[in-house]
Symmetry: C2
Subunit: 401 residues, 2 copies
Amino acid sequence: MKFNFSESVNRMKTSEIRELNKMASTPGLISLGGGMPSPETFPKKDLEEIMDYVMENFADLALQYGNTLGNDGAREVISGMLRKTEGIDTAMKNIIINSGSQQGLYELATVLANPGDTVITEEPTYVGAVSAFSANMLRMEGIEMDHQGMIVEKLEEKIKKLIGEGRNPRFIYVIPTFQNPTGYTMPEERRRVLIEISEKYNIPLVEDNPYGQLRYYGKPVNSIRSMRGGENTIYLGTFSKVMTPGLRLGYTVAPDEVMEKFNLIKQALDLATNSFSQYVALEYVRRGVIYSQIEENKKIYRVKRDRIVSALKENMDGMATWSEPEGGMFVWATLKGDIDTRMMRESAFKNGVAYVSGQAFTTNGTQRSSMRLNFTFGTPDQLEEGIKRIRKTVDSYIGKK
Amino acid sequence: MKFNFSESVNRMKTSEIRELNKMASTPGLISLGGGMPSPETFPKKDLEEIMDYVMENFADLALQYGNTLGNDGAREVISGMLRKTEGIDTAMKNIIINSGSQQGLYELATVLANPGDTVITEEPTYVGAVSAFSANMLRMEGIEMDHQGMIVEKLEEKIKKLIGEGRNPRFIYVIPTFQNPTGYTMPEERRRVLIEISEKYNIPLVEDNPYGQLRYYGKPVNSIRSMRGGENTIYLGTFSKVMTPGLRLGYTVAPDEVMEKFNLIKQALDLATNSFSQYVALEYVRRGVIYSQIEENKKIYRVKRDRIVSALKENMDGMATWSEPEGGMFVWATLKGDIDTRMMRESAFKNGVAYVSGQAFTTNGTQRSSMRLNFTFGTPDQLEEGIKRIRKTVDSYIGKK
């Protein structure tokens, strides 16, 4: 007996990221495509020790169902960490621990908006946000960016237009620091204007900050949530880049008024986050291992960032423009001429290199000549070789056209 | 600046289970309310050893992002386990590993139905299903049960009525073995009729089986998924009751046609399940520890089940009726006379005992004289004392009325 499953809505299209995962094990392939941290940044010895400690001392709790909003001890140390690394002042009661930051994005979409509502994002924006918002049937309006992130004048124009159409936006979602996919960082002055616009039109701000702790160059910029007027910003963070992604731990900081809604949706989604992971993270932060590991990661990634940027200079000069991010995990490169990077993917793959095409990150069908290049996963030599292979691909692709 | 968050839909109401969690740490309270396994069933020594092994041999993968549908090795051993304990024949490619079975329920609601659609459940049904289905704005129609589970004649009547109203049900959700909250088990003959009805009206069947491996008495009943004609049943299972709930691992078995949809929603929900937990479960099953642990759990819980049933006989005879489940975690008790168990909860709490009132499990506002009593978490003595306290509560509550 086969059922007819065809009537349920297809809320999402197959994503390029999925295809990438399938190719990941191809021998010889250099992937600049995924968003994976390097295993050399995993604090294995520390985690082994901490896991033993947790099993010795807290097994009954670490293996049991936990509270929906998260383990109180873990929420407490996250509060302390946010004060220390981000200057964010938040009580433990305003922290929700999620099964990765992706879950935080999904929760947002259900707590702050209803199906059919409009939300504002950067254009391009994080593919996982597109996926979480689409799954909740939200309409995304992307705001153009320059090297300083979302262009706030265009934001205000768009808000006025949307309000005029009766489509009041439910929230403004930004990744202001080392944005995914572009690597751009929004300077403090622009963040201030963003807060003003959010206040003026009474539209909640959402700050997603998975990379802020990984700055390799330049002066830190305050997080929006830590700024005056930014106290009601909803803030998303993660342990994926400063501990490990496999333990699936992210967190949301949210105002009192919405905590109950987060609690209810989290319960519907998976009852509670992995207790064991939370105990491990609790110890990892409490012992301060996280702070030395962040410094370690920065050393490793700074070298890689330099290598990919210099490889781009050597190989792509005049053929493309690219961001030179001061931190994070990604470089955004845009090819000159009329090249569709999605069409070019197959040639690139044949040449032994993978990237994610710009279209994966778009809210409006643009970005077709761009590509996102990850520089945290490969070795420095692989990164250089990967860029050479992209150059080779572009050369032959132009030749064929 | 405070935003106006009030416009987003309240998809769910505060649940009794949440309140229960808050009370859980009250000194002296005997909780028959939660659905927690006993920590004495956690295979701590084995898990410690397995965790060390995973960190020694697979740390780079166990700490990294994993595939959205799950670790292939883990999917493979789950396929083997299902063959062995449930007689279910399924390929690894039809298994999705979830962050707990709750996530499987949430996924179902998005993959098989659209907001506003109608689905069929047992009445009463699992509170987590009510929560996942409500969050997706599904309308639930509960079918009355007797001691043999869902009454299939009433099911067919209801389906005809719904189709007549243009509300074709999207799926039929059942917990046929040691049902939550009632403890009832549907005999094979009735399962067969269920399959027939599902075929006749082309409505997919969903079999949720978190307790099937925990049978203390009687002859095993085949799972619907393992029966002839049941091959396209969507099946939900979990490691929470036969390993630990804190590692948050559940799984869905689904037909080819819907795997891509499950993949996409899972990616939107949390990218992938905890890799470390999956490696641990893989080893736990591969080494066969799970099978001896299941036998261990059955020994421990059989004693508890007997104790709560005998305590009910001694203390509640003539005042209530109750189920005498052959397995699982719950007894369903219904008080005689016009007692609202939700109203009585506060008195019970003052007397040092907690339960979940019948209304928490209803799809239609009934079940007000019933209560769900968990017998896996407390010690046998606590279970007996808990029932005595309920008796005392009923006595004084009737006196006061």
